[in-house]
């Protein structure tokens, strides 16, 4: 049951618990919670230094639920930017949630009577939960997919909130180099989650996206992510459709 994702990494040791809730909790309590706890500690202390209160920081974590957007919020707020500019920057930093939701949410649909639930469950989408969901959910029946995702997401969000609060309270007490490490933890973790993609289209999309991302950022900081996604994603899509040696069309 556990190897749909081509054996990517090792999130939990075997044997797999049979109860789906227990499995989701155990999966989430490992690496994902640890990373969220640490990286949200970085966000919490950044929020405090940007003069954002604890309640604001906590609501930002649960409500925005995407670290790049949260960091943009804290930094632009501290810089005293225009409200429209801040909201647009935060929103565009999180534009990835559109294609991520489109590519993941159909997995949660089978057997769901009330579609409204999808609009609730989609709030849990993050790089973490998306990657875990794509790996685990295809091997589960419909109800269990939703249970797994909801429980996994709840545990992750709880860890993130604890981290945010801890960082907010500890701000100033953390040595500067440690804060650097905590903030950098996020891109490192994201990079390793996707490091062993075996699917050809995915690998092309990751490679081309990584190459064109920074130059496009120089052209337009706000729109660069959307442009990266469309340009690199489209290129990868077409490249993967070429008749590669060893494929069976």
């Amino acid at each position: 049951m556990r190897d749909e994702g081509q054996g990517r990494g090792s999130v939990i040791p075997e044997p797999v618990p049979r109860n789906i809730v227990r499995r989701a909790v155990l999966d989430a309590l490992g690496m994902p919670s640890l990373v969220l706890l640490a990286s949200m500690t970085g966000f919490g202390s950044l929020a405090r230094e940007s003069a954002l209160g604890l309640e604001i920081a906590l609501l930002a974590t649960a409500g925005i639920w995407g670290l790049p957007g949260q960091i943009a919020l804290a930094e632009l707020y501290a810089a005293g930017s225009e409200i429209v500019a801040v909201v647009m920057a935060v929103s565009l930093a999180n534009a990835r949630f559109l294609p991520m939701a489109v590519s993941f949410m159909p997995l949660l649909q089978p057997g769901l009577a009330r579609r409204g639930w999808l609009y609730v469950l989609v709030q849990f989408i993050s790089v973490n939960t998306w990657a875990a969901g794509l790996r685990v959910c295809p091997g589960l029946p419909g109800v269990d997919r939703r249970r797994y995702f909801a429980v996994f997401g709840t545990v992750c969000m709880t860890a993130a909130l604890v981290g945010t609060a801890a960082g907010h309270m500890a701000a100033g007490a953390l040595p500067q180099p440690v804060t650097y490490g905590l903030v950098f933890l996020n891109p490192i973790f994201f990079a390793l989650i996707f490091a062993d993609a075996r699917d050809r289209a995915t690998a092309f999309a990751l490679l081309i996206g990584a190459v064109v991302g920074p130059p496009l950022h120089l052209v337009s900081p706000d729109w660069s992510l959307l442009a990266t996604g469309v340009i690199a994603g489209t290129a990868a899509f077409w490249l993967a459709r070429l008749p590669w040696p060893g494929t069976h069309p």
Binding site: G69, L118, A191, T202, A210, F237
Partner: protein, 116 residues
């Protein structure tokens, strides 16, 4: 305290503007075929955006990470990858090695151990 007061409307707008993408994603996802070409294209777009974001955060970070020299950020990322692939693709040792490397490099520069 004026700053604190202004933060609430800002936050609520930012949350709504972020949810817009998620909600739109659900709306679109219920209308396209998950086995079709459009779906595969959207998945490619997701991965491309994530990779672009990761590489931008590493090479051109906003905020406090910009205070860390590019060479140190790249070195930490390379070390994370080396440990990850050298250690049977385990994420935890890779992430830990990268973070520790960045902290040590920063300390080394402050202490003048690197000589530059």
């Amino acid at each position: 305290m004026t700053a604190e007061f202004g933060a609430w409307p800002l936050l609520l707008l930012a949350i709504a503007a972020t949810y817009l993408w998620r909600g739109l994603g659900v709306l679109v996802s219920t209308r396209i075929d998950p086995r079709g070409a459009v779906f595969r294209w959207v998945t490619c777009v997701s991965y491309a955006m994530l990779a672009g974001l990761i590489s931008r955060m590493t090479i051109m970070p906003l905020g406090i990470l910009a205070e860390v020299p590019l060479a140190d950020r790249l070195a930490a990322m390379v070390i994370a990858f080396l440990v990850f692939f050298g250690w049977r693709r385990k994420v935890l040792p890779g992430v830990a090695a990268g973070v520790v490397a960045l902290v040590l490099l920063t300390l080394a520069r402050r202490g003048g151990w690197l000589g530059f």
